[in-house]
């Protein structure tokens, strides 16, 4: 039981990282990134390949995942500078599918649909059964650092510019803000976080395959962020953990219902998850922890003669 809880907590942490990444770009700058699974995959593959085929240390893999995710993010933003909203969403969704198809078909590099197995975990052999708690600590530490970082951005003048761009990019431009630079930087940072999450995921599971990076995971994270509270890092984080809790507890709830077949139980589980998510969005449209926009600071000269 304990191992299972540790496992779920770790998975929740990884989903939390993805949620923070999405919240930064979607909640912050208002750019709909449906390609989250693609950046997640880029990071996972970069780190897995460097540490298995390249025999590099795991930390190098994680660093590469950050860089690879960030670069992929830059490429996507710079090639979509004129797209907004739905159109950007379509292109990013396409990007994720391209990544998945490349992973499935470029067998010489990615081992195709066989996937990459035997990805090393940090000190896995030495730790034995203690691997799960140690990895949870690593994930939580990374999550903590990223959380502090994005919250810092959220509350800084930089975050205010992002929100201005979200509300009306033209106005921000008129106010003299370099909108494109802000968008590109934020998108790259968000993609880098998703890439890092992918690397942490790969070394935790020890196996990755193209099937892992279907758009479903992007949808899950969108639900987590929307349910938790768009535009607020803490909301995204809470949303991710609640989503994981919901996904897993549904399993135990449907087991309590007697005299139904396994298929009905599986269908009921999906139904239950959907109903809860609909209820959350219906009853709390801004999410469980809605965005709080701090009042603009008063000019310091006020009140002085």
């Amino acid at each position: 039981m304990l191992n299972y809880l540790l496992f779920i907590a770790t998975m929740g942490g990884l989903y939390g990282l993805l949620a923070l990444s999405l919240n930064l770009i979607w909640g912050g700058a208002g750019m709909v990134n449906l390609g989250l699974a693609g950046f997640f995959a880029v990071g996972a593959y970069a780190s897995a390949l460097l540490t298995t085929t390249g025999h590099a240390p795991i930390l190098a893999g994680w660093a590469l995942a950050l860089i690879a995710g960030g670069l992929a993010g830059l490429v996507v933003t710079l090639s979509t500078t004129r797209l907004r909203e739905d159109y950007l969403a379509i292109v990013t969704l396409g990007f994720a599918e391209v990544v998945r198809l490349v992973a499935a078909n470029e067998i010489w590099l990615t081992r195709g649909t066989d996937g990459i197995s035997g990805i090393p975990g940090p000190w896995k052999a030495a730790l034995g059964t203690d691997f799960n708690p140690v990895y949870l600590v690593i994930v939580l530490a990374v999550l903590g650092v990223v959380f502090v970082l994005v919250r810092r951005i959220d509350r800084s003048p930089y975050g205010r510019v992002l929100r201005a761009i979200r509300e009306d990019a033209q106005v921000a431009q008129v106010a003299g803000k370099p909108v494109l630079r802000f968008k590109a930087e934020t998108f790259a940072l968000s993609a880098a976080i998703a890439g890092l999450a992918g690397a942490l995921y790969a070394h935790f599971m020890s196996y990755i395959a193209p099937d892992l990076f279907l758009p479903l995971i992007t949808i899950y994270i969108f639900l987590a962020v929307a349910g938790g509270g768009t535009g607020r890092p803490a909301g995204a984080l809470v949303g991710a953990y609640l989503l994981m809790l919901l996904l897993e507890s549904a399993r135990f709830i449907v087991e309590l219902i007697p005299a139904i077949s396994a298929v009905q139980r599986a269908a009921l589980k999906e139904l239950l998850i959907a109903v809860v998510l609909i209820l959350v969005l219906r009853l709390a449209p801004g999410g469980l922890m809605p965005e709080r926009i701090p009042a603009a600071p008063r000019p310091q000269t006020q009140g002085k003669p």
Binding site: G115, S117, S206, A209, R251, A262, R265
Partner: protein, 398 residues
Amino acid sequence: MTRIAFGRRAALLTGAAAFAAPAVLRAQSDPIKIATLTPLTGAGGPYGPVMAKVAASVVEEVNGAGGVLGRKVQLLSEDDQTNPDAGVRAARKLIDVDKVAAIIGTWASSVTTAVAPLCWESKTFLCTVSGADSITQLPHQGFLIRTQPNSTLQVARSGEFMLSLGARKIYTMIPQTPFTQATIDLMGKLVSKAGGTHQGLVYDDKKTTYRTEVDQVLRTNPDMIFAAGYTTDTVVLLKDIYRAGYKGKIIGFGYSINQKLIDQIGQPEVVEGVYTYSPSPAEGSTAFERVKKATGLANPDPYTCQVYDHANLVLLAMAEAKAATGVAIKDNIRKVAQGGGTTVDNAVDGLKAIAAGQKVDYTGASGPCDFDDKGDIIDCKFRYEQIKGGKITLVKVA
């Protein structure tokens, strides 16, 4: 203050003891837990539900006859959603919370590869129907067997059959899977050895039409098409091949071209004359008849037959070992699966024979079920069939 603290701690301890004590007493009569992990939703959705159902029927029969080692058997069924991520979460729950001794029926190769390390690390036995060659090459320490012949064997047999039908210009149409490249290479070797020509085309299995792919293939005028996909994509593919006016022969795997596919296409002329083949039980096998009865299907697919065998083998191995753990199954499964002795085709008869001190040799619905050291099946017959007038008719078993 300290006294109160002590009181609390003592109360806690007593409470914990009260919970723990019956657990210890109960251990002897606790049910033995095994689990199916099949795709109940997602791409494998057409296969998984009946797989779970047939495993439940085996467990029900065994419980009706008194269980295993004097304990009832409890079957849990989780959904892997045909997705490795969901599969791993479900497997973790089965292993850590339910503490099952064995997981049976993993279907997609990617799910099996993701779940396998969890199983061998926690000494849980895993039986799979995935065909990718790489699966039995994992460092599984004996905690894995598979009843599906690996793809090399399957493809070699189908190639030989195509050549025996007189085909010389063969085109393989296959989605991207772990065995795609191996299939194309192997077919190429087989066909060119027989003096024919072979070409392969890899398609994306999530497309809604294959007209361009079909046009590309028909341009070379093949006399046989090997449609090596799964049911969902093959339905679309066969329709497009028919529309393009192709007159040659078509063959595909039994797990894809089956009654379900005929029903889904709904036009008998589209599938008229199409060949299908699958691993088969030896002729006169009674286990296959039992699977038909348990599922109510006239033509249960190979995966269902294999899961029937998984459930029986796992239960027999526990009885042979007189212990209900993954390690016990690992050490004893080959003793009940092969090596001569009383031939049995179901767990109830086998359990009686083991109780009477006999050596049993299980012969199942999917074949003789004999395994080599890596966990692959050793020998396997194939059943070749052809669709005539919307019905699947037997050509030969060889």
